[in-house]
Symmetry: C2
Subunit: 407 residues, 2 copies
């Protein structure tokens, strides 16, 4: 069976995602679509609006055949480590190709950029380093360094765009594999990544959909035209089950409590905390009346919102440098969140050939990397009130992979 | 001016306390009554029903002249360290005497017990150690050891009674001082320390009063006959200001969060965590739906409710062994919470002679011991919802000592 991998967050799954799944299937002539999906905390340092189980269900009901979890140690990370984990998992699952959305939409622009940079690696890396020292962000530094090296090159890719930079890293990591997967990219339609307002009649960014969901007083009215019916249903089911959608504000009391009670030396041991920002984080924790207020107080030109949000997730989950550095370059297991009938057939076909344990339950193996996932899930549940907190705690241990009989 | 010290928690101040203040004043012929009072967390490992400021106000309005805070490092402690801090503070404030409530009510019984034990210290301590090894509690071991050494002695004091054992330690510590204060004791009236139901018409235990306050749906109806009018007023004011009284359940989500996110090795570094109980605490944290439920699951014959509650307070406030052991045998400052006009006169009279800094604001000195108090106060505030949380955070920094013009 011909298989194609996608790297996703589905927060929540919307029409743009649906388009991407269908287009990827066509372009790559896939029999099976495999999505590696962030768990309950996301790359940009946020809790997912609904749990990974509900998000896996949305995906499976809308055309994806297999959903596996990107472990916390790779998911809540800058682009390079995020790409490392995702690509390695898709490769371990024997994907023939992978397909990502990008602002560029042209796969040759990505290969060109990689070739150009490879040819001038030393010079290029020196430029990037120099620019970052002056306070320029990493993606912008990559982009500007390319301009410096090839001032006359017309079609260089804009690596300052969030999906381009991710795609660039996917392809870089893929190139380091023994048998690289074939890479495809699809131009993103209409909505820009961070758009907060709806910008077209049927495609809107996940950010704007989340915003609408929360603004509409935790109701899904007003988002139906931007998401498949299956997404509306799952969102409604989730709300019925847990009486809330998740956002950072639910976790703010815990983050504030943690910042007020932790010693600075211990805070400095949390992953991604560096350069003395621990003083700043502790200093502003007490005066802030909400997470949003806290972020406004803490952010600086030097630290992007996303970077600080990721720090906050690591503080919340008590993830230490020592833990992350032990684990962030090794895929110890692949956790199956759900599959369709076709996905099940694919997995039984490849099972004998894969050399990473494919697990359906967290009791299946003992792994420190998995401990991080379990802790992150527990903390995600902690945002709920009882009795919903208990319900979600139990789900993490008892839930078998979601199975969709007919796709 | 003749001054008498009391060691108190006033959680809340009730008629029994009022009787004790008046009786202490008469017996010791005091011009000034000084109370050293636990801050926001109490000896038995509980948050106080209302903040230390409100409790200080109750005391001052009902006859106490000076209220100072017993630092966290002495307050949330077993009897011996609690006594060490309290007696040393009263002595530093030049008290001529101190007066404690006890089940015995006879000061000679205390001196006798101390003499008897002093005369057979080695033998006595060996008995105590041996009994504790078999799982007998510390107070009961003290009591039983005395029976073993003096089987024929009729009037030995029952050290298994909670107020007797505290008084015993007060007197032991007082004896080690260069110029010991004169010791007085008053027999406790009617209510037993732990009584949960009201047992007489005007005197009830603080435990039963708290229980009534919470059971009556956070209303003070039904406790008026057991507390001075001033107490009812302060309780009502507090409720108007913060919309709640405090109990452990308010802090349960934070404790649970902490237990779920902390690593076992770090948990073992928290003060009073020993002998592998960290496994047990972590194991039961997830299944418990409330603090009460958690305590029921965790407690064993070996670990008393109070002992586990104290551990829980230290986990909640992130108080480490290293911090406590650095500080628990030195009075670095005395923090004034409030005074009457008469109290103010007394303090200006002794000011030149006291050799511990007497502080009115936490900005006055820099001390690691004080940092513990500030952290404990911040965590106490964290139990409130916004905007009340901010209000209480600010109080801790901005509140000058309460001043009562006319007593």
């Amino acid at each position: 069976m011909n298989s194609t991998g996608l790297i996703v967050e589905y927060n929540p799954f919307h029409n743009g995602h649906f388009f991407h799944v269908e287009e990827a299937r066509k372009r790559t002539d896939a029999d099976v679509i495999i999505a590696v999906m962030s768990g309950n905390f996301l790359q940009r340092g946020e809790p997912a609006i609904i749990s990974k189980w509900a998000r896996a269900k949305m995906a499976l009901q809308a055309g994806v055949d297999i959903v596996v979890e990107l472990p916390y140690a790779f998911a809540v990370q800058h682009a390079e480590t995020f790409a490392y984990g995702s690509i390695n998992i898709l490769h371990a699952l024997k994907c023939n190709s992978f397909c990502f959305g990008s602002e560029s939409g042209n796969i040759n622009e990505f290969s060109d950029a990689i070739d150009l940079i490879e040819n001038h690696r030393v010079e290029y890396e020196a430029f990037v380093k120099e620019l970052m020292k002056t306070g320029v962000s990493y993606p912008t530094s990559l982009s500007q360094s390319m301009k410096k090296i090839y001032p006359d090159h017309k079609n260089y890719i804009d690596l300052a765009k969030p999906n381009n930079i991710l795609g660039f890293h996917y392809m870089q990591i893929n190139n380091t594999l023994q048998s690289p997967m074939r890479a495809f990219t699809i131009k993103r339609k209409n909505a820009n990544y961070h758009d907060e307002e709806f910008s077209s009649s049927t495609i809107a960014s996940a950010t704007s959909i989340r915003k609408a969901t929360f603004e509409a007083n935790q109701s899904i009215n007003g988002i139906e035209q931007y998401v498949p019916k299956t997404t509306s249903n799952v969102l409604q089911e989730y709300y019925n089950d847990y009486q809330t959608f998740h956002n950072w504000e639910m976790y703010w009391p815990y983050l504030q409590y943690r910042l007020l009670s932790i010693e600075e030396t211990d805070l400095a041991n949390i992953y991604e905390i560096e350069e003395g920002i621990e003083h700043r984080l502790k200093r502003y924790a007490k005066d802030a009346v909400s997470f949003h207020d806290f972020m406004q107080r803490v952010k600086t030109k030097r630290y992007t919102w996303t970077r600080i949000q990721r720090m906050c997730v690591h503080i919340l989950t008590n993830t230490k440098k020592s833990e992350m550095l032990r684990h962030h370059n090794h895929i110890e297991y692949i956790r199956l969140l759900g599959m369709t009938e076709r996905g099940r057939m694919y997995l039984s076909q490849i099972k004998k050939d894969i050399d990473v344990p494919l697990i359906s339950k967290i009791s299946a193996i003992s792994s420190e990397l998995l401990e991080l996932d379990i802790r992150a899930s527990n903390i995600y549940s902690q945002g709920l009130q009882e009795p919903y907190r208990q319900k979600m705690f139990k789900t993490e241990y008892a839930q078998p992979p979601i199975y969709i009989h007919q796709n």
